[in-house]
Amino acid sequence: MSQDESPHPAADALPITIRGVTKTYGAVHALNEVSLDVRSGEFLTLLGASGSGKTTLLMVLAGFTRPDRGSVKFGETEIIRTPPHLRGVGMVFQNYALFPHMTVDGNVGYPLRLRRVPAQQAQERIEQALETVQLGGFGGRQIDQLSGGQKQRVALARAIVFEPRILLMDEPLSALDKKLRDRMQIELRDLHDTLGMTTVYVTHDQREALTMSDRIAVINHGRLMQLDDPTRLYERPANRFVADFIGDSMFVPVRRRGDSVYHGDTALTLSDPIPEADALLLLLRPERLQVLDDDPDPAMNRFAGTVSNLVYQGDSYLLYAQLTDSVEIALRGMTRRDTLDTLPKVGDPVTIGVHADDTLLIADED
């Protein structure tokens, strides 16, 4: 998606240009030459495991971590040496960081008081911000009277009330229970679409990232592994790390002979060109596999094996199959009344198929 195609381009959103940002702690690279463009009005997620450097990068953007070198521009303005209070970005902290000695109004109005907004106008904006996060009428509450979800919303209201052009969020949903988190994901995304500010969001939860983001930057060991929209990230991972990190992934060793790739003695049918690499792995995802009957479909790659385990998980089942070369793969199927009765049993021979479009080859590096 290019900048022009952004669903709700806001006139005053700002793009972020990150170039060569490096931060070391002793011998450890928290950030290693990270370069990244966040488009104006985009919802971009920094995704990585803990210790990957995603939070460090966010803190560099907010101004709380001073990198060793690099450049960060908001729009055309270099801000790498600008102190945090002059950056004018909104931020939602992981534990909300609401001031406990102020009411909800006091918290949301804090940035307005600093900007000397006249009292009456400030009150209107506070109420408007609270309405936006569906907390109208909560202004007089004390912070410790709020539930986790409400604190989350107050923190959000406080971050947007002064209309920053960039919004940063540091795992804002991690303290909420799953149901609330699922709902807040949709709400946050809707809010972003309404307000249109450039948003950088940090999470370790890949489903959250896939649900909310325009684009996702996968970070590992302080390096950017891949930057793509959710679909491409999942369907066409650029390297083994991303393939392994996103989704349930199984890797099956395959060999290249000339222009073909073989699993055992069977040539694979491929939709994509073969990557340039010495060693190749076949990436399989459980939900893209299916149990085949004898009907030969030329678009399907077939793997013969034996059912080694069958796990019922309510909405779906996992079928583990031992392939002839002692590799085990898992297949996920939906549990419907008709399939439940006809599932193969442990020990049965089974043929597992995967469509050529889902037959992904990954260079075996790292």
Binding site: F64, P84, R87, H101
Partner: protein, 297 residues
């Protein structure tokens, strides 16, 4: 197994619960007995003595004297004045110190805290006489200052209010710094980051966020210092040199010089009541258990 045959152990369980309560009580009883013997009974005895006149009969003369004689009122005034100034100085010196400590990394802060605590492990008397040696006319401070040309004549720094305050502030400082440090340590640093992110300069963030949040700790520490000062004896007695007379010293002289237990008891009772009044008023602003704890608000 049928429903009626199931053993519910109701009596046994109740018995266990009761035994645990008694065991807990048994563990705390030595401390309770100690408090009773060395605190409640003596204070009660003093309270009784304060109502016994010179003739051995019930009388209010000990209290009457405090109202009638101006010297007694002046002693109470001096006591409050010295306590207030000491507390104020402790805040001025202790707040920046506690702030500095609270900003250090954990391990270094621990080491520095030991240096704050170190005076605690030295006898109060030793520290007080040390000040006497340092501050007297031909003491270290005066000789060095004159050698350096800071002043020409020896300055009188002991046996007056100055000496009393120097000694008291030194002794009281840890009582302020410790609860204050605790409450500052408990302030989540994200609050300051949030303030900064929302547009507050470091100074602004300090006064609008950090200082209010350290308030309960500051209040608790100041209260401890003030209350301790009210009954302080050794340091003002040694460094004040008889020029600064506080309630505790008057009580001592009542007993040592005049062997007037009634008068001494009455002053003790008044001081105790005043202290309790102050704590009661303070407790309306602050939960008192914070005095004992970290003072986290």
């Amino acid at each position: 197994m049928s429903g009626t045959a199931v053993e519910t152990h109701e009596d046994g369980l109740r018995h266990d619960a009761r035994r645990e309560r008694w065991a807990l009580f048994g563990l705390s009883s030595p401390a309770l007995i100690l408090v009773l013997v060395i605190l409640i009974i003596p204070v009660g005895w003093l309270f009784y003595l304060s109502f016994i006149g010179a003739d051995g009969q019930f009388s209010l003369e000990n209290y009457q004297r405090m109202v009638d004689r101006k010297s007694y009122r002046r002693i109470f005034e001096t006591t409050f004045q010295v306590s207030l100034i000491t507390t104020g100085l402790c805040i001025l010196i202790g707040y920046p110190l506690a702030y500095f400590l609270s900003q250090l990394p954990n391990r270094i802060a621990g080491l520095c805290l030991i240096t704050v605590l170190l005076p605690f492990w030295t006898s109060l008397l030793v520290r007080t006489y040390a000040w006497l040696v340092l501050l007297q006319k031909r003491g270290l401070v005066n000789t060095w200052a004159m050698d350096l040309g800071l002043w020409d004549e020896p300055i009188k720094m002991v046996h007056n209010l100055t000496g009393t305050l120097i000694g008291m502030v030194h002794i009281m400082l840890p009582f302020l710094v410790l609860p204050l440090y605790g409450s500052m340590r408990a302030i989540n640093r994200d609050y300051l980051k949030a303030a900064s992110n929302l547009g507050a300069s470091p100074t602004r963030a300090f006064w609008t966020v950090f200082f209010p949040l350290s308030g309960p700790g500051l209040f608790a520490g100041s209260l401890i210092v003030f209350v301790l000062c009210l009954g302080f004896y050794v340091t003002p007695a040694v460094l004040g040199g008889g020029k600064v007379i506080m309630v505790s010293m008057k009580i001592a002289s009542n007993i040592e010089l005049f062997v007037n237990w009634g008068a001494a008891s009455a002053m003790g009772v008044v001081l105790l009541l005043l202290t309790m009044l102050i704590l009661w008023v303070a407790s309306r602003f602050l939960r008192l258990e914070q005095l004992a704890g970290s003072g986290h608000g």
